[in-house]
Subunit: 396 residues, 2 copies
């Protein structure tokens, strides 16, 4: 029997049929005028959604490749780098900088808690007082591994006050959570096609501020494929240095078109509403939201099943019996949590379908679940949260 | 009016409809069992087509990313490297190694001539006599920029006799020209999805011999995204370290299935036949094949239009008036040559269609061309070359 999968991992995200169709268009010459128009259009749309006038470069790579490009283009071996980490992707960011010989200090916040601006300030003061010249601060915007949205706007203010380079991994944050690259003063922001952009994986996206380009001038780390200066030079003639993932770019063009129809503000509101609805449903199942809810991510909900239920069993039954694909915990969180992705082209029906499968799965695991309880809680949250009915948040 | 483009550049190549359709399948979880089966199947098929038992790793990148991975994983800063170059891609290979701080000596052969095994021997002897410990030899298999197929089998024999690491850029060579990774003793071979494999761009493919893995153990160059050791460790659990270009891998799986139906021997014969037919057609138009024909590539034909005809005009008219997209010369060859790609899923009808457009274009440019002359020459070559009718090459 044909069964449509409900792909509810935090990326790659569900790709709409119109975007899939776009990705199947006939191949074109990556050195010709059609490609130049494609690249220019995608770049402009990305600038709009990232709220930046900075250069936006696309690389044929996954988000991790974009994070590596951010480091390799702006830093040099021995550069002092502070990496604020509260999950697997913060750890990855630090590891990449270390592999390039940067003098990385990883400042850990426990998984599930947010990186606090005051913490960033204290650590930058400590470095200054210790006579260490911090070159860059690395921080994760949306920490996908544990479902935390770090307050990057406020962190950026602190980093700006110390006049340091700020490099932000917003791979799963951009277009799901507020991200105002220019107003916040982010030097390098990284995202990727398969997250809230709703396109297939294969394109990493990197923004470069003037300050970042200045840093690039003195950067001595090796870079060839990931050279952003090369990417910029080629972009000016409507090309990329090496052959790009053309079909992914065509798909991204189509998903950006769909996103423009909805508008960024509406997209961000939808993400917040669906995240709240998801958390309401999960709580109604008697489960614990893993992160500090004040900073709960609009893109992904991490939670712990009841004590006697193995998260891996939940994930397996959801997949095998209800064609609903959610994620486990990466790295240290393996076997401890489950994660539901609700970023990109997600509707309340998708969330309801996922929660109904969760209800059935918990009953299959002999947990006491009143039929409809999670779905009802989600719908209650979603209705109460309706932006058109609420005036100045009065009903929240 | 709808017009189907005849994409005749040397990559990205024409992608068959079945492969495009495969690339538009719904997104899947890159950490789930479906992806593990996909990756295992693609890897096995690539091993077959590359005739190797070595590890075959796929990276989400274009071919240049694969070339960089080959260098970053096996070499260290200061390592003496000989790069034999006879075109733009040989130059790129040397530039990548240089950007990583290798002690690169680029040995140039004039564009259009092949790198000769004796030349490789002489240069390796010179290095040895000068007391320089060459760590690796870099060579381009199919030099796309000028349409030359370098005799890598014989070059490999020489490199083996000096017991040096051999790294081969076969980005546009593999599956278009003979490449026998194990029998020839190639340590690292690189290719990419958008060339003779007939899939969209986005996946680079790298083979690693035991000797290459030994070299990797002592390599100190920075590598994170391009770490082949990480790629191998993840491959063993059916995954990739970072999110892969899933839709391109699904497309590649389908193109490999189509290729397996035809069989490697038939594919290689078809490429040789179509290359000969193309050259016959080009010569019939009074144009000069750019490279030494003894080493003319089975994947791409480079040629010079008549003296008074600007190659850029030829390319423009072909594209604007006949929806036929061929390439110019890259880098130093810009404005000097034209290149017709005939790699991947190409039929004799595609070659005929391209040559007919060439005939019309030359007439539009007021060149004396007898209608049908190029097409007839190509068909004559193709018929004379029929493998089923020729016994032991008697009709060639």
């Amino acid at each position: 029997m044909y069964r449509q999968q409900n792909l509810r991992i935090p990326g790659p995200t569900f790709v709409p049929q119109a975007v899939l169709n776009a990705s199947a268009r006939p191949m074109i010459n990556h050195r010709g005028p059609e490609f130049a128009a494609l690249l220019a259009g995608v770049t402009r749309a990305l600038q709009d959604f990232l709220r930046t006038q900075n250069d936006v470069l696309t690389l044929t790579a996954s988000g991790s490749g974009g994070m590596e490009a951010a480091i390799a283009n702006t830093l040099s071996a021995g550069d002092r780098v502070l990496c604020f980490s509260n999950g697997a992707f913060g750890e990855r960011f630090a590891a990449i900088a270390k592999s390039y010989g940067c003098d990385v200090r990883r400042v850990d916040t426990p998984y599930g808690q947010a990186v606090k601006p005051d913490h960033v300030r204290t650590e930058l003061e400590r470095e200054r007082d210790g006579g260490r010249d911090v070159k860059a601060v690395l921080v994760t915007h949306n920490e996908t591994s544990c479902g935390i949205l770090n307050p990057v706007k406020e962190i950026a203010e602190v980093v700006r006050s110390f006049d340091r380079l700020l490099i932000v991994d917003s791979v799963s944050g951009a277009a799901a959570a507020e991200l105002d690259v220019d107003a916040w003063g982010i030097d390098v922001a990284v995202t990727a096609s398969q997250k809230a952009w709703g396109a297939p994986p294969g394109i990493a996206i990197v923004t470069m501020s003037e300050r970042a380009w200045k840093a690039a001038e003195t950067s001595t780390l090796p870079k060839a494929y990931f050279s952003l200066a090369d990417a910029k030079a080629y972009l000016e003639k409507g090309q990329t240095p090496a052959t790009p993932a053309v079909s992914v770019l065509i798909a991204l063009q189509e998903s950006l078109r769909l996103m423009a129809e909805e508008g960024l503000e509406a997209i961000l509101k939808r993400h917040r509403r669906l995240a709240r609805a998801t958390r309401a449903g999960i709580r109604a199942l008697g489960m614990q939201i893993f992160p500090d809810e004040t900073y709960a991510s609009p893109a992904v909900t991490a939670f712990r099943p009841p004590a006697r239920v193995d998260p891996k069993n939940v994930i397996r039954i959801l997949r095998d019996d209800y064609d609903t694909v959610i994620a486990g915990g990466p790295g240290k969180l393996d076997g401890q949590i489950c994660r539901i992705g609700h970023l990109g082209f997600v509707t309340v029906q998708d969330v309801v379908a996922c929660l109904s499968a969760m209800e059935l799965t918990m009953r299959d695991l002999n947990q006491p679940v009143e039929p409809g309880v999670a779905v009802a809680a989600a719908l209650r949250s979603y209705s109460a949260d309706a932006p058109s009915k609420a005036t100045a948040g009065s009903r929240r």
